[in-house]
Amino acid sequence: MLQFKTPRFAAALALLCSFGCQTPAKSTAVPLAISPAPPALPRLTRAQYENSIHDVLGADLVPPATLEPDVPYDDLYSVGASVAKTSPRGIELYEDGARNLATQVIAKPERLAALLPCTATSTTDGACLDAFVAKVGGKLWRRALTGDERAVLVATGLQAAAKLGGFQYGVSYTLVAMLQSPRFLYRPEVGEPDPDHGGRRLTAFELASRLSHFLWNGPPDDALLAAAQDGSLNTEDGIGAQIDRMMADAKVHRAVRNFADEWLQLRDLLDLNKDPNVYKHFSSDLGASAREETLSLVEYLALDQDADFRELLLTRTTFVDRRLAAIYDIPAVSDKGVAKVEQPPGERIGLLGQVSFLAMRAHPVSSSPTLRGKYVRQMLLCDHVPNPPAGLNTALPEPTTTAKTMRERLTVHMSVPSCANCHKFIDPIGLGFEHFDGIGRFRTTENGENIDTTGTLDDAPFADLTSLANDVAQSPKYPACVAQKMFAYAVGRPVTDGEQAQLDVLGAAFVDSGLRLKTLMRAVALSEGFRRIGARDDTVTGATP
């Protein structure tokens, strides 16, 4: 049975070990000692569905407002895509969406003309409809359609054209069919024998699709499909040239933004919930602003600057709108949307000084050192943090005259052994953020008491957010973690135990590049683990449907 690379430490003892510091091994061995993972069947994420519509059918089309929600696995929706099942309601939504989109396509003659490779000579011009299916179907299904597949679609379209009295209905109903097909909604990976390594690898079209969903978060374009068709994608030069071309395309921005959105859990900001009586800067759209700030910063550092990715934690550059500027107490430079600014000298730096992290990892009326510490462990260092044992009273004492600050209230976590086992790895990190309240405003006192921001990260003491951010950035676990998340995101399925060597190599390459995210993405796309697949897994697992 397939073993997913998921730490499952049941005991506190195992937890201790999981925090041990591991430096990624440098790679020398070629070829890699990996056992490639079995082929996957990722379902398009909602973002990928929308991007497919925009790229193939038209940037001005309005995608469905509701589709079945994405499923997270190991904190990534792109990984959950390979386990997500579609509910009966989800099927209805796919059908509604397909019909609505097809109607939009034929509603504007110029849009229809842009998609049609021919001019229909009659209502039931089968040859022209076949040319349309070959062209648009090939983009939507991300490979050339077989003659049989085209024949079924054309027959459907001609029936519609005749019944509803117009060639355009032939177009719209073939679209309704193509958009509901499993060939569009899923990315099937079947593979073929691998002449270079033995075993199996993705077919050229499957590889093209994996590449484009990784580097563009959307479908392959004509040039990529052509490289798959002519076989050049299977050569080292060919794939290298395609990756370079894709990384130079503006669509890489949406992929990097989407990676950051998933990795940093920024969707949580859409449900941000604060008591406006406590936080007068709160409004229901603050979460969206904060999300945009972080996404803009990642985009800027990784793509515009090709910067050392430790800068994500260390930079004073950020992107604020009026709402965020008010929270940061800095002048707003833009009336609408976010604009680049430098934070003034002070404790606030990097991602961990942004409203996004500080507000989403806090409570409606207070900060939460525990949630913040856990986030640093889990998302930035890839340490496994177990859930608190259920059946435990997790109440924190209310502020009292002797325990006014969060630190004082949290001492209960340290004085009760059952809590201390885990919290000693979490709270001492989270207390470093206590100069920032539950919405990310700077403060130096709480209930009249001065706030102490000292703490420890893996036994190394730090003084405040600035020094903590430095410690996280310098931890060898940070680049290893980014590489691990990036690889999992890229392959769109859970990482398996047999791929550890691959993760080590990628982590080392990332470090060697001076933490250039673009270099890491290129290395992932060129890696064996990205291109090779294992045998199909025919084991039926336990869960009863």
Partner: protein
């Protein structure tokens, strides 16, 4: 299959209707509007206590539990008094049964999550790295499998608080609830709705849509041959969804029999915005509750789940000093603010029940012909306790469940026993509910009539 009789009188199968349509001829349903649910003599079906109305089921779920000390009614059996927290149900006391003292038998592997899976599916929570999913279908879907396939919608999911809900078809497959009552109204009473008793407008595209679904289904079957076992299961479920949708398209072409209780409810507002950072939960719920009552009365659906709020939700309830979840952990005992929130939740439950009881159906009300279960993922949220699970049953499912009583489970019986009784009472004849520690093979006989 009980529901067969509803359509048997037409003398026309759905396939016949569809063939007629595809053949180009418009089929006229040459039958008078039927008093659906009534037998040929115009009187209610009387056999075996059956009153002629279909069984229906509603789940009302909220997050973050209760305070057992202020929840549990005093007295037992039919001599009992509502507690502080249950007081909003006073007007319908004779139509509800409160079951207290049961516990969930699955391991408490994750705060809130394990309880939700344990109550709603009877199965242990499945871990997926840092994320989780259910091991099997939730109760609403178990019931929809049995009684949901004769109506336009197999089941409907909605809730005043936005969120993904816990209506699971199985692992990693959620039926997402609708949080906009306006959108839900359009879905039920907009295009595609035919007033029972009227003849549907024949939509020439229905046949085309169905033939597309046929070919999509065939393509799924072809793809299944190329994938591993787990992916094959996922495609199987996709195929099943296609099949259900095809069935629904056929249903749209039939003339629905007249139903006296059916009425199109008032169209909701486009939005019910938060007021000073606080969601208008009660108003939203009221609108949903009435809409759902008419959806059932018009026989558009027989199974619903109302996800009023979610586990771990930190919503700001009216007058509460902070979020619900935070209060459950941090408010000192006896947690008066948590208590007030719980009362607000029970008010919402009461609103759902009252909306169903306000609709006359035959000699009784819609509520009498169905069963509503109100529950949460935990007893005392402060400790994530899986004991003292709150359970309010309303309506008797046409006399199958005893109402007007408090059943106190002194020994801490498995919550799954109650859920099994519920499933069976509304027509899901299951051999068991749940698995492992959450498994029950027998219902709770004390509440079965």
């Amino acid at each position: 299959m009980k529901s067969g009789r509803l359509y048997g009188n037409h003398g026309l199968s759905r396939r016949t209707l569809l063939r007629g349509l595809l053949g180009g001829a418009v089929v006229t349903i040459g039958l008078p509007p039927l008093e659906r649910f009534l037998n040929a003599n115009g009187t209610a079906y009387a056999a075996s206590g059956d009153d002629g109305f279909p069984r229906r089921f509603g789940l009302f779920f909220w997050g973050n539990g209760i305070l057992p000390a202020r929840w549990t009614p005093t007295g037992k059996g039919t001599t009992w008094e509502l507690s502080d927290q249950l007081a909003p149900l006073a007007a319908m006391k004779s139509k509800i049964t409160v079951v207290s003292g049961t516990k969930v038998g699955v391991p408490n592997s994750q705060p809130h999550g394990a309880g939700a899976a344990g109550v709603l599916s009877g199965m242990p929570l499945l871990m997926q790295g840092n994320n989780t999913t259910f091991g099997g279908p939730s109760i609403d879907q178990l019931i929809a499998n049995a009684i949901g396939n004769e109506t336009r919608f197999r089941s409907l999911e909605f809730g005043a608080a936005p969120g993904d809900g816990y209506s699971y078809n199985g692992p990693n497959s959620l039926n997402p609830p609708e949080s906009s009552s306006y959108a839900l109204f359009q879905r039920i009473f907009g295009t595609g709705f035919t007033m029972p008793g009227d003849t549907p407008k024949i939509d020439p595209t229905l046949g085309l849509r169905q033939s597309i679904l046929d070919s999509v289904g065939e393509d799924i079957k072809r793809l299944e041959m190329d994938v591993g076992a787990a992916d094959k299961q996922r495609l199987e479920q996709h195929f099943e969804g296609i099949r259900l949708l095809e069935k629904r398209l056929v249903m749209l072409q039939e003339a629905p029999a007249k139903l006296d209780a059916c009425k199109v409810p008032k169209m909701p507002e486009l939005d019910y915005p938060d007021i000073e950072g606080r969601p208008q939960l009660q108003l939203k719920n009221q609108v949903f509750a009435e809409m759902m009552a008419y959806s059932l009365a018009c026989d558009q659906v027989r199974v619903f789940s109302n996800w009023f709020t979610h586990p771990v939700n930190n919503l700001l309830f009216q007058n509460a000093p902070t979020g619900h979840h935070e209060l459950t952990h941090n408010e000192p005992d006896p947690q008066p603010e948590v208590h007030k929130i719980t009362v607000q939740i029970v008010e919402a439950l009461a609103a759902q029940i009252a909306a169903l009881d306000a609709i006359q159906e035959g000699a009784g009300t819609l509520l009498d012909h169905m069963l509503v279960v109100g529950t949460s993922e935990t007893g005392l949220a402060k400790t994530h306790s899986l004991e003292e699970i709150p359970l309010v049953l309303a309506g008797s499912a046409g006399g199958k469940i005893k109402v007007g009583m408090h059943y106190r489970s002194e020994g801490g019986e498995n919550t799954s026993k109650v859920m099994l009784s519920v499933c069976r009472a509304v027509g899901a004849d299951l051999a068991k509910y749940g698995a492992e520690g959450g498994e029950a093979k027998d219902g709770l006989s004390a509440i079965e009539a």
